[in-house]
Subunit: 636 residues, 2 copies
C-alpha cells in the first residue's frame, strides 16, 4: 500500500455488471466473522500462516525469480515448475484479502515489496512470466498446453483485483491490466490477425471476467469468452486431461485434471453471469449434475485419481486411495459460489458448505503450519501434512480461501431488498440493498457445534431474508420470528424468505436439528457397499486410531440403530464435539493370516467383541500421533 | 539360423550349475504340449502373432534404429522411449523359442535379418543401444536410473541365450557376450577402478546369471551379484519406485514399479540358486510372503496402482481401477518358477499357474492380434485390447511367455530320479534323469476343462514323480496307480511322490475335483467386502454384459449356497466351460437417481427380481462386443 494512498475503508465493488446473475455478492469487507470455529483459524492464517508462506516464497527463490527477471540478481530460475510465479500471486491475493482485518505494518511491507518486484519484472510489452525470460524468452507462448503462462497471468490479475478492492490502489492492477492487454492483443481469431489458442490450465477466464467487472473494459470479457469458445477445437493438442477433448458446450462429464475443470467451470459461470448464454448454462448444469451425482466424495472432495490428479469414472471413489486435492476442493467452492449467484438456488451453497468444512479445511493443520495436497478418506497413518511442496499450489490457495471466506457468506438480490444467507457463523454484515439502504445483519450462533442461529436485522421498510435450510437437515428446520414459532418445519431445497415491513431489531431464530446421523452411499460406489459415514450438521466425522486403540478400525462394525453420544471437548483439537458409540469388532480369523483368498464358506472373522468407538470431525484428522484413520465404517 | 549351421536337435542345457537349487528345469525343447487349451493359442502365437509383431517392429522403426546405428540408414531415432531396442530383443527371444516347433523359412529369415541388424549396430567396445548413438553417444551410462541401458542389455543377452539354446548358433550369443564383457569392465566397485552403479530397471541380473550358466564364465555371475548388492546404496538416486530405497537384503515389501520388482526378485532367485546365500533367500521369502498375502489379485495379477505402474499398500486391490500390467504378471511367473526351482515347494507353481491362466493370458486377444497392457478386474466396457503400444513392452513379452511355456511344465531333482510336474496339459516330455536315463512322460488330460490327468511313465528302475495337487483343491485329489485307488485323498501343499521300481508304461491317474467354487477375499481389501469371485479349477471366471443383458452387473447378488451349472460350449470364445446360476438383481431405487449420499435408513434398492447369471473364464473377456464386466459379485 503506497503511503500516499492509504485505504479509507472498504472499496465498493461495482454492481452494474452481471445482468444474468440473480444475486450480487456482499463484499468481504462488509462482513465480519467473530465465531469460535472459523475466526481462530482465520486469525492464525493472517497472523502466522501468511508470514510463514512468504518466507517459503523467499527461501525457495520464487520472489528471487522476479528479481532475476528484472535484472536485479544473477541467478538461475529457481523451482521445478514454469508456474512458480502463480504461488507468489496467490499468496499476494490472500495477503490482500487479509488486510482489512490485519493491517499489520510487516504484512503491508511484504505486500508492497512483492508488488514492486513483480512490477519491475514486467516486460515492456506487458508480458510477465519469470520462467520465460533470458534464455527461455524465445519459448514464450510456444506451449500453451503445458506451460501455464495464461494460468499465471490469471492469478496475477486476481491478486491485482483483490489488492485494488481492499486498498483502492491501482499499483498492481496496472501491471495486471498491461499483461491482460498484451494477452488480448495476442490471442484470438486468425481473421482478426491474432493467434488462436486456449489455456492448457484454466484460470485466466475467471480473472478476465472479474477484470471486466472491475474496469468496465469489454475487451477482457470478450477475451475470456474467446478462451472458453476456443477450447476443444484442437488448437493446443490437449485431451481430456485439459478439458480440450471437445468443445465446452458439448462437455457432459467432469474429466481430466480436477483443478483445471472446476476452474474452467468457474470461468464459464462468470461468462454466463454476463452473457446469459443458454448453451453455456446448459453445459454447466450437466457438468454440475455429473460432479455432484457421480463424482463427489462425501467430504465434498473431488478428483479421485492420483494418476493425473484427475476425475475418474462415474462412481469411482476409492477412500484410502482418494486424491481429492485441496486445490480442487477450493476450485469447487469457487464454482459452487458462482452457480449460486446465477440463480440463487441453495443446492450450490449446500455443496459449498460441505466442501469448505470437510474438503478445504482438512488441507491445513490446526496450527496453520502444514498442508495436505491430497486428502484421502482413509489412511494407515503414513499420510501427513507437509510445510511446503515443490508444486506449492495448495498452501497459498488455502490461505486465500480462508482470507476471503467472509465474501462467501451473503448475497443480495439484484433487484429486490432480499438478502441470502449462505453460511452460518457468529458475526455481522452491512448489506447495501439495491435501493441504497443498508441492512445490518447480526448472526448469533455457535454453528457448526450448535444448531441454533439467531439472526437480528436492523433495517426499516421492505426487506426479505433467505436462510438456507441445509440439505442434511432432512427432517426440516424450525423458525421463530420475533419469538413466534412457525407451525410447519422448513425443509431443505430452498432458502426461506420473509417479506414484510421490517422493524429495526427484528429477530429470526433458525433451529437446525444437529443430531449425529449415519450416511449411506450409492450402491455403485464399489468400496462403500455395506458401509456408513458419520456426520453431524455440516461436519463429516472420522475415526482415528489414537482415539480407538486396541483394534483395527477396518474390523469395527457399527450398528445402524445405535445411539451416538455427543460431547463438546474444549481441550481436544482446538475444541470439538466428539461422537461416541458402542460397537463391535470382528478381526479376521487366523485362517486369514497367510492368505488373501479362500473358498466359501470361510470363517471370516472371530466372534465379535464389544468396542467403544470415538469419532472426531474429519477436518481435524492427522493433528496428533500418526495412526489409522477411516471415514466409512462397516455397518449392520 | 545360418545355413552352414542348421539345428540338429535340442541343445542340452548345462546342468552343472545352480548347486543351491533343488530342481533342474526340463528344457522346453524336451517338452511337447498338444492340448486344446494352450496349443491353439501357441500355434497362433508362432504362426501369426510373431509375424505381426515383426511388422510392428519394422513399421515403428524399431529395427531401423539398429540400421541407423550401423550407418545404413539416415533417419532420426524412432519411438518414444530409450528402451525401444528391448522390444526387438524380446521378440527375438520369443521367435527363437518358437523355432523348434515352427522352423518356418520366413520366421528364420526374420530372425537372421534381425540378428544381422543387431550385430552390425554394435560398437567396437561392445556397447549396444541404438538410442545412445551419434548425438546422444556422450549420454551413455550417464543416467542409469531412468534410461534403461542395462535393461536393454539384459533382454539382448536373454534373446542370445534362447537363440543359442534352440539353434546351437553363437551368432547372437557373441554379440551378447561382448556387451556383457563391456558391462563387466565398466561397472563395479571403485576400488577395482570401475564405476559404481545399479540398473534403474532390473532385468540384466537374470540375464547375467543365465549367461554364466551357459558359458561357465564366473564374471557374469559376479556382475549380477554386484548389481544386486549395489542396489539401495544411493548410487543412482532411485527410490521405492526403482527398489533403490534400501539394500535388497533389507527389503520386506513389494514396492514401486511392479515389473521392476518381480524382475529383480527373479534375478535374486537366480543368484541364490548359485550362491545359496541365506540373507538373500530370506529377503526373497519376505517379499514373496508380502506379495502373495497382501498384494496379489485373485487373478494372480500384481501391481494395483496406475500411478507408477506400481505396487500399492497392503490390501490395496481395487478392481475397476486395477493396473495389473501384463508384463508384471509375466515377471511374477518368472519369479515363481525360480522360487519353485530353489526348494521344490508347490506353492510357487500354484501362484504360477493362477497367474498364467488369469493374469498373463487375458493380455492377448483370442485371435492373437491385440493386447492388454492393463488388466482390470471390472470394467464399464471401455477398456479394449490394442494392436500395439507406444511403450510396447507387453506384446513381445506375452509372445515369449507363450513360446517358452513348455519350459515351465517339468523339473527334475538335481540328485534323485524324481520328476516334478508343475503344470497339466495334454502332451509329453523326455526327461533326462540325473543318472543319465531318460523318462518318457505322457500326460493325457483335458485340463483345465476336465480334472482328470492320466500320466503314463516309460522308464525302468528307480523313479519318482511328483504331481502337484493345486491349492484350490482344498477337498483333496484322488490318485489311482495302475488302476488301484489310494484310499486317502491327497491334499494341497506338497507334490505327491511315488517312489518305487517303475515298469515301463506305469499309469497314474490324478483326479482333481473341478467344481465351480466361490472365493472370498481378506476382509481388509476394501472393495471386496461382502463379495465373491467364481473359480473352476485354475480358471478365474467373470461376468460380461453380453451374456447378462437387461440388468447392471453391479446390482446382481449371488447366493453363496446356489448350485452353478457347467456346460462346455464349443462354439463360444474358442471353446469354454460356462457357468450359470439363478441369482437376484436389486437395482438402486429411484431415490438414488440424483444423489450419491443419503441419511440412513434409506430404501437402497427396489425389491429384488430374479436373474440368470452366466460366467465365462476371465482370460476370454473383451473378445466380443464391449460391455460391463465384473469379477467380484455381491453375495448373500
Amino acid at each position: 500500500m503506497p503511503e500516499q494512498d492509504p485505504p479509507t475503508g472498504p472499496v465498493v465493488v461495482e454492481t452494474t455488471h452481471s445482468p444474468h446473475a440473480r444475486l450480487r455478492p456482499v463484499p468481504l469487507t462488509d462482513v465480519r466473522i467473530a465465531d469460535r470455529f472459523w475466526e481462530p483459524r482465520r486469525a492464525i492464517n493472517r497472523e502466522q500462516t501468511l508470514a510463514a508462506q512468504y518466507r517459503h516464497l523467499e527461501e525457495t527463490g520464487r520472489i528471487d525469480n522476479f528479481r532475476r527477471a528484472a535484472g536485479k540478481v544473477d541467478k538461475p530460475f529457481q523451482g521445478l515448475y514454469p508456474f512458480n510465479d502463480s504461488d507468489v500471486y496467490k499468496w499476494l491475493e490472500a495477503a490482500a484479502w487479509s488486510l482489512p482485518e490485519y493491517p499489520d505494518p510487516g504484512m503491508l511491507r511484504m505486500i508492497e515489496t512483492t508488488i514492486s518486484e513483480i512490477a519491475d519484472a514486467q516486460e515492456p510489452d506487458g508480458y510477465l512470466n519469470t520462467y520465460f525470460t533470458f534464455e527461455r524468452a524465445p519459448e514464450r507462448w510456444t506451449n500453451l498446453k503445458d506451460k501455464h503462462e495464461l494460468y499465471c497471468a490469471g492469478h496475477l490479475i486476481q491478486a491485482a483485483i483483490a489488492h485494488h478492492r481492499v486498498t483502492g490502489s491501482d499499483r498492481l492492477l496496472c501491471v495486471g491490466r498491461r499483461f491482460a492487454d498484451h494477452i488480448c492483443e495476442t490471442f484470438g481469431r486468425e481473421v482478426e490477425g491474432k493467434r488462436p489458442g486456449t489455456p492448457g490450465h484454466e484460470e485466466i477466464e475467471m480473472a478476465l471476467v472479474e477484470l471486466y467487472r472491475t474496469t468496465g473494459d469489454q475487451r477482457y470479457f470478450d477475451q475470456a469468452r474467446y478462451f472458453i469458445d476456443s477450447r476443444g477445437h484442437g488448437l493446443i493438442g490437449g485431451g481430456e486431461y485439459h478439458q480440450d477433448h471437445r468443445p465446452v458446450r458439448e462437455q457432459e462429464r467432469m474429466t481430466g485434471h480436477a483443478v483445471r475443470h472446476v476452474y474452467l467451470c468457474s470461468g464459464i459461470a462468470d461468462v454466463v453471469a454476463e452473457s446469459g448464454e443458454p448453451a453455456l448454462r446448459g453445459a454447466l448444469d450437466n457438468l454440475w449434475a455429473n460432479m455432484t451425482r457421480k463424482q463427489l466424495y462425501v467430504s465434498g472432495g473431488i478428483g479421485s485419481r492420483h494418476d493425473g490428479e484427475a476425475f475418474g469414472r462415474d462412481y469411482e471413489l476409492p477412500n484410502e486411495r482418494s486424491y481429492t486435492e485441496t486445490c480442487a476442493a477450493i476450485g469447487s467452492v469457487m464454482w459452487s459460489w458462482r452457480m449460486g449467484q446465477l440463480d440463487g438456488h441453495p443446492r450450490y451453497a449446500d455443496v459449498m458448505e460441505t466442501t469448505l468444512y470437510n474438503a478445504v479445511l482438512p488441507g491445513l493443520s490446526l496450527d496453520g503450519g502444514t498442508y495436505f495436497y491430497e486428502n484421502p478418506l482413509a489412511d494407515d497413518g503414513t499420510h501427513r501434512r507437509q510445510p511446503w511442496f515443490g508444486c506449492a499450489c495448495c498452501p497459498p490457495n488455502v490461505a486465500r480461501m480462508l482470507a476471503s471466506l467472509p465474501g462467501y457468506f451473503y448475497s443480495v438480490d439484484k433487484e429486490k431488498p432480499l438478502v441470502h444467507v449462505h453460511l452460518y457463523a457468529e458475526g455481522e454484515a452491512f448489506v447495501t440493498l439495491p435501493d441504497g439502504r443498508t441492512a445490518h445483519i447480526i448472526q448469533h450462533t455457535d454453528y457448526p457445534w450448535g444448531g441454533i442461529v439467531e439472526v437480528t436485522v436492523n433495517v426499516e421498510g421492505p426487506f426479505g431474508i433467505g436462510l438456507r435450510v441445509p440439505d442434511w437437515c432432512e427432517e426440516g428446520a424450525r423458525i421463530l420470528i420475533n419469538g413466534n414459532a412457525d407451525p410447519e418445519p422448513y425443509l431443505p431445497g430452498d432458502y426461506q424468505f420473509e417479506n414484510e415491513a421490517w422493524r429495526p431489531g427484528a429477530r429470526i431464530m433458525l433451529i437446525l436439528p444437529l443430531r449425529p446421523r449415519l450416511v449411506e452411499c450409492h450402491p455403485h460406489v464399489a468400496e462403500n457397499t455395506g458401509k456408513v459415514a458419520l456426520m453431524r450438521g455440516p461436519l463429516l466425522y472420522c475415526f482415528e486410531e489414537t482415539d480407538n486403540p486396541g483394534f483395527d478400525l477396518r474390523d469395527a462394525t457399527v450398528n445402524r440403530a445405535a445411539v451416538w453420544r455427543e460431547s463438546y471437548r474444549k481441550e481436544l483439537l482446538g475444541g470439538i464435539v466428539t461422537l461416541t458409540v458402542d460397537a463391535e469388532v470382528t478381526p479376521p480369523s487366523e485362517a486369514w493370516e497367510d492368505r488373501l483368498y479362500r473358498t466359501v464358506p470361510v470363517a471370516g472373522a472371530l466372534e465379535p467383541r464389544p468396542a467403544f468407538l470415538t469419532a472426531i470431525p474429519y477436518y481435524a484428522w492427522a493433528n496428533r500421533e500418526p495412526g489409522r484413520m477411516a471415514v466409512w465404517m462397516r455397518a449392520r
